[in-house]
């Protein structure tokens, strides 16, 4: 039982780390530009497709990843220049409509270029093994690498946001973007930077899951919604909040699916417990979100003034 718990907890952390990578950029975009971007999930999808194609092309996952990251960065900046930069001054409804349109375009575009069938990316040989946990339990190296890469990224983001000049501008921008602009900072460049960074992080998440999930059109949609839940729980504009909330959501979702039915079994008969657990588990994170919002309407880490 404990082993199962440990295994599922690791899976939950790994899932949470991925959500954090997507949420980190998106929460900054919400917080600093006050832009509701439904299109962030497709960047995750695009990252996965880039790495799938480039890995097949170069024959090496690491080379593919190294090429996919600048490619998603460039793609993000291109989208920012073409579409998002024109939306900052619009109201939220316009932003919802335009980015909803963008999702339709990119999901369908991906389908046209790569086909509707899922693609798979082989796990690189170097990372394909598993390491022993406790007793007979083993855990895949690749998932450990995802967790490590995510934690390193989180640390890097923390240093960037809390200890650099750009980070200072980001924090200032989240508090009062017009004032930062009035003080002579090129806010447009700052926005572009945030957007490119966010796109690259989302693309990185997509690239990292490509070997363990199937790469398919619309794969970003479900991640987008979970990311929204993360951002709402963590507090819009707060990277720290996104980190805590992402791990919370990852753990609650993964553990709930495994242990919900087991816990219920102690209270009701097995078949009813399985049925109820199966139905309730996917709703857990939304119930969590509702509970957090009920007590703290601006999330766990309300952002006014603090990005980090």
């Amino acid at each position: 039982m404990f082993n199962l718990f440990l295994l599922q907890a690791l899976n939950g952390i790994q899932f949470g780390i991925l959500l954090f990578l997507v949420a980190a950029g998106l929460t900054l975009i919400f917080g600093i530009m006050d832009l509701i971007n439904l299109g962030h999930g497709v960047l995750y999808m695009v990252g996965a497709y880039f790495v799938a194609t480039l890995t097949a092309w170069t024959g090496d996952f690491f080379l593919g990843l190294a090429l996919a990251l600048p490619a998603t960065l460039a793609f993000g900046i291109l989208l920012e220049r073409l579409i998002f930069s024109r939306l900052y001054e619009r109201d939220h409804l316009d932003q919802v409509l335009a980015t909803f349109g963008l999702i339709l375009i990119l999901n369908e575009g991906v389908k046209m270029i790569w086909g509707a069938a899922p693609m798979s990316v082989p796990i690189p040989d170097l990372l394909s093994g598993s390491i022993p946990l406790i007793g007979f339990m083993r855990y895949p190296v690749f998932r450990i690498v995802i967790i490590a890469a995510g934690l390193l990224t989180a640390l890097g983001l923390y240093l960037l946001v809390s200890h650099t000049r750009i980070g200072m501008l980001l924090r200032a921008g989240a508090t009062d973007a017009p004032m930062v602009s009035a003080l002579g900072v090129d806010i447009k460049r700052l926005f572009m930077l945030v957007f490119g960074l966010g796109a690259m992080l989302a693309g990185f998440a997509g690239a990292m899951v490509a070997p363990i999930l199937s790469v398919e059109p619309s794969m970003g949609d479900s991640v987008l919604i979970l990311t929204f839940v993360v951002i709402v729980i963590g507090g819009v504009g707060s990277v720290r909040g996104a980190f805590v909330a992402a791990l919370l959501v990852g753990l609650v979702d993964t553990l709930g699916r495994t242990f919900g039915p087991i816990l219920l079994r102690s209270m009701m008969e097995p078949s009813a417990a399985a049925q109820t657990g199966q139905t309730l588990a996917p709703m857990l994170i939304y119930i969590l979100m509702a509970a957090v919002l009920f007590f703290r309407p601006s999330g766990l880490f309300p952002s006014r003034g603090a990005v980090a």
């Binding site: 919400f30 917080g31 006050d34 509701i36 439904l38 579409i83 024109r86 939306l87 619009r90 109201d91 939220h92 409804l93 316009d94 919802v96 409509l97 335009a98 909803f100 349109g101 963008l102 999702i103 339709l104 375009i105 990119l106 999901n107 369908e108 575009g109 389908k111 046209m112 989240a174 508090t175 973007a177 017009p178 949609d221 919604i225 929204f228 839940v229 951002i231 709402v232 819009v236 504009g237 049925q275 199966q278 139905t279 588990a281 996917p282 709703m283 939304y286 119930i287 979100m289 509702a290 919002l293 009920f294 309407p297 601006s298 952002s303 006014r304």
Partner: protein, 339 residues
Amino acid sequence: MSAASQVSPAATPGVAEHRQGGMLAGRGAAMAAAVIFLLLALLPLAATALNDPFLMVTATRIMIFALAALSLDLVLGYGAMVSFGHAAFIGIGAYAVAILSANGVGDILVQAIAAVAASALFALVTGAISLRTRGVYFIMITLAFGQMAYFFMVSLSAYGGDDGITLPARSTLFGAPLLDDDMALFYAVLAVLILAFAGLRAVVASRFGRVLRGTRDNAQRMQAIGFSPFRYQLTAYVMAGAIAGIAGVFLANQAEFVSPAYMTWQRSGELIVMVVLGGMGTLVGAIAGAIAFLLVEDWLAIFSEHWKLGLGILLVLLVLFTRGGIVGGVERLTGRSQP
């Protein structure tokens, strides 16, 4: 965060204030609605003359979505609440029919009461939580609650789960299978659509509607003169949810099939597009928008299986190149100044 989001509670500040009352307001709206309803009422004649029964099926589906879009307009256009989970209410209404008829309750009145009760309750609970927030939060939370309902139905394996469930038969009225005839179903939906339109017109013209519109335009001022925006917005949200639930009852009957696909977040997005396309805060605009949207969708689908690409491009271009959104652009084209 802009300074504006600081002052206005719930929803997006100022969303509608520069768009309301656009090209189809007041008496013109009633005339336009009368024309649409008259044309719809005559449609079965055309379908018979052209010997094209599919025309009536399509029109029924369009009217069902028009009913849902109409209810969303109360929330979006009059309440300035950008709700991104409206399809959930359609799904709840549809599942009320599916679950009841699978358990032997086929009467449409019972089903409709259950659908209204369930969707209104869901709206009451989720609305009360969502309305504690504002701006982008409200959009994201309504979206998340919509997904919650979606996943609930997906995992409800007793009633088909992901695959959906086929109805044993269409609903009956006092034991009589009246709705089995497509034309009867068509006129039933049309009647309910007209009823809902007239009812909502009365609502938005009433004192309640004036408070709601006042809150949309300036929530702080409404609060200052002694109104609690929360109660009015929540009431509107619940009313809209209940009407969308009715749309779900008809959708289930029309397709004789119910699945979680009715309540995806893309569907919610499409409903928003319908309302904005037709003109928010006009009621008749929502109906016109639903008709236009679904016709464009069908039309694009003729050309290519990748019709969503065309729809997406259309949407992005419309927002980017028409100042003040789609309606603003149409208003400028037609030369009507904004209030």
